[in-house]
Symmetry: C2
């Protein structure tokens, strides 16, 4: 069995790094706090005698050899970064649960045939460097090294500079190699209301909704706010407001689980007394069904263009990243289900609305995920929370599944 108290202790220790006033966490990717969290994580892995390395994207790995170390490894983990004023479970839970499972296996003298690797991916949240899941996307070749290195934060610091600055720019040779990997499992908080609503303890994740992340730029005309009559204006923010409402209504009325969110918005020149000449905002669209995915994304682009056109302004829609819905490996979800049943833990087979590193790992190896409930379905906020009893059950399922899968 895994030791939930040790896991809790480590979780609470990690939650000190970047702790916010209201008991949340701000630990942006490649920040000083991220470095502290990484250092501590590595310390813990080295204390266990794992072989630690990090690659040229700062993804960190800790390897436990098996009796049969030529076998492809079982990889488990998640991420250590957070959104600004985020919660203390998002990401960290999956990393420290992996560590706990490995430590428990060692402690219980359970001999693994295949090697087990714990992983923490860089910049999963995308809160500092867009797009999200940059470290896992880069290591699975969905993003080029040039693209990844040149991503920059709001203060024009690049990913590469910041990675170097915190001392985590490792060797390309240290990347995970899909040929040497048997499977990837990621445990995570649900970040939504499904488990709570269905009164289930663990979520067996069969797939992840596809997404399209875009930047929309609406162009009108800057002019003085005091001396320009209302009827002569071409205000890009007023049109952006129409577009934001249209996007919301569109997603709302589909009633097929499509989600659309405008999270960040900026005007130019961005001062009180000038009509915004340009308004730029991000758009995040999620859709679960493989069949309808492309037409869904096409549709929202049309809604935007039409709304802008109606108000006689112009717009650009720049794609940041689009990924279709993914389906996880049945072989693994079945094992997760068996483990849940064996321990009499209530479970729910479900799709994740949130993206995860598992989504990109799934493009190169057999992958699945395990969710534990988020209280009130809340995440990406300080109130994010999960019951320790639920975490205990989740880690029981994970421990059992890793134990089984690490034996050839």
């Amino acid at each position: 069995m895994a030791n939930v108290n040790r896991l809790k202790e480590r979780m609470l220790r990690m939650a000190q790094i970047g702790k916010t006033e209201n008991d949340g966490v701000t630990r942006l990717a490649l920040s000083g706090e991220d470095k502290q969290a990484r250092d501590l994580f590595i310390q813990w892995m080295e204390d266990l005698g794992l072989h630690v390395r990090y690659d040229d994207f700062g993804n960190i790995y800790g390897r436990l050899e098996g009796t049969n170390s030529n076998e492809p490894a079982l990889v488990i983990g998640s991420h250590l970064d957070s959104v600004p004023k985020g919660g203390k479970f998002d990401g960290v839970l999956g990393v420290l649960a992996a560590l706990e499972v490995v430590e428990s296996l060692m402690e219980n003298n359970i001999q693994n045939d295949r090697p087990i690797e714990i992983v923490s991916f860089t910049n999963e949240e995308g809160a500092r460097f867009t797009p999200q899941m940059l470290g896992s996307g880069a290591v699975t070749n969905l993003f080029s090294k040039e693209y990844t290195y040149s991503r920059s934060d709001n203060e024009s610091h690049t990913f590469k500079e910041e990675l170097q600055k915190i001392g985590y720019l490792g060797s390309q040779d240290n990347r995970i190699n899909p040929d040497d990997v048997d499977a990837f499992i990621e445990m995570h908080i649900e970040q939504g209301p499904v488990l709570e609503t269905n009164n289930k303890t663990v979520g067996i994740v069969e797939g992840i909704a596809g997404f399209s992340w875009m930047e929309v730029v609406i162009a009108g005309e800057t002019n003085h706010s005091g001396s320009t009559p209302m009827e002569l204006r071409r205000d890009s923010l007023v049109t952006a407001a129409s577009v934001i409402k249209a996007i919301h209504q569109w997603a709302h009325s589909r009633k097929d689980g499509t989600a659309a969110t405008v999270g960040e918005i900026k005007t130019q020149p961005g001062i009180m007394n000038a009509i915004p000449g340009t308004t730029t905002f991000t758009l995040d669209v999620r859709h679960q069904h493989k069949d309808g995915f492309t037409s869904c994304i096409d549709e929202i682009r049309e809604v935007i263009k039409e709304t802008v056109h109606e108000e006689s302004l112009t717009c650009d829609i720049n794609e940041i990243k689009t990924h279709p819905p993914v389906t996880f490996a049945k072989s693994i979800t079945n094992l997760l289900e068996e483990a849940s049943k064996k321990h009499d833990i209530s479970y729910h087979r479900m799709t994740s609305g949130a993206g995860h590193d598992a989504m990109y790992m799934n493009t190169v190896v057999d992958t699945a995920m395990l969710f534990v409930p988020s209280i009130g379905g809340k995440s990406h906020c300080e109130e994010e929370n999960t019951q320790w009893e639920d975490i205990e059950k989740g880690i029981t399922v994970l421990y059992d599944t890793v134990k089984r899968m690490s034996n050839v």
Copy 2:
């Protein structure tokens, strides 16, 4: 007569400081560029033998003594700061026209009885430190010294720090003293379409629209963009969009010249994959009629509250600064009119929609303004422009009026 070519030369020289790619100007208050512009302006005044001083808000004065230097002074001027990517006439024209008038009077051996003071006020635009017209508001006691000094820019630098940094924190004794001032005249570009539409060359400004500058904060609930169903969201930006549209429609449908603008907007946490929990935006409302002013501002506050209430969110409306419409001194506008007639220059009596330092100066001394046309009514943008022939006519009217008023 004044020398428009010398004025043009100085204007073009000033336009080099903070020049943008598209021939506009970025010269934010108390920036390095502002310092350069101040240094040059002072150099020019000292070359003319004027007595130069600056006060504890960085307002700069250049004094030409008169034959009767105990008489209250005639003050003329405007401001040197700009909005980001603004135009090269806004503000600077009034400062350098004042300098040109003084130099021409000296050159033409016109003896002034009362002293003439040229002034350049600090941070008129409010683009770096809100609110607008901070230097003139502070020196006329509309803003306390504490309030003024503590205003801070987007990078949390305070007004006082930045004033000190560029070396323009002068003595309180150097402030303008209303008892020693006879009148204030400000020449400025119109920044709107009225003169052009009416095919007139100068605007004789009888007053300025009142304004209310506010910050609106709408509070919803942050949550994950991917895993939170549309029907469970309380998205502050979607409600802000409704409010922005309602504000626009409200001002538009009044048809009484009321203008309302949302210029700057920000979401929290402000990342692509979180529903905005809080959205904050600025609101700038202008209304010309003294009678209807208070009810107009009350009305828009109601429109905002009702719209937010309908969507079951909450909001705060924080007042930054409100000032009722002002009426300028008839004695001065009549002189401006006489000068226009004398030189056969077409003029238009009008109200300014834009605020100016003259608005605050008017609270302590007799004040008026003189406008020259803005091509296409454009300002607070790089395309802002004015014909030199119009400037020549404007400075003719100003020269004549200053000549008359500086004689007791």
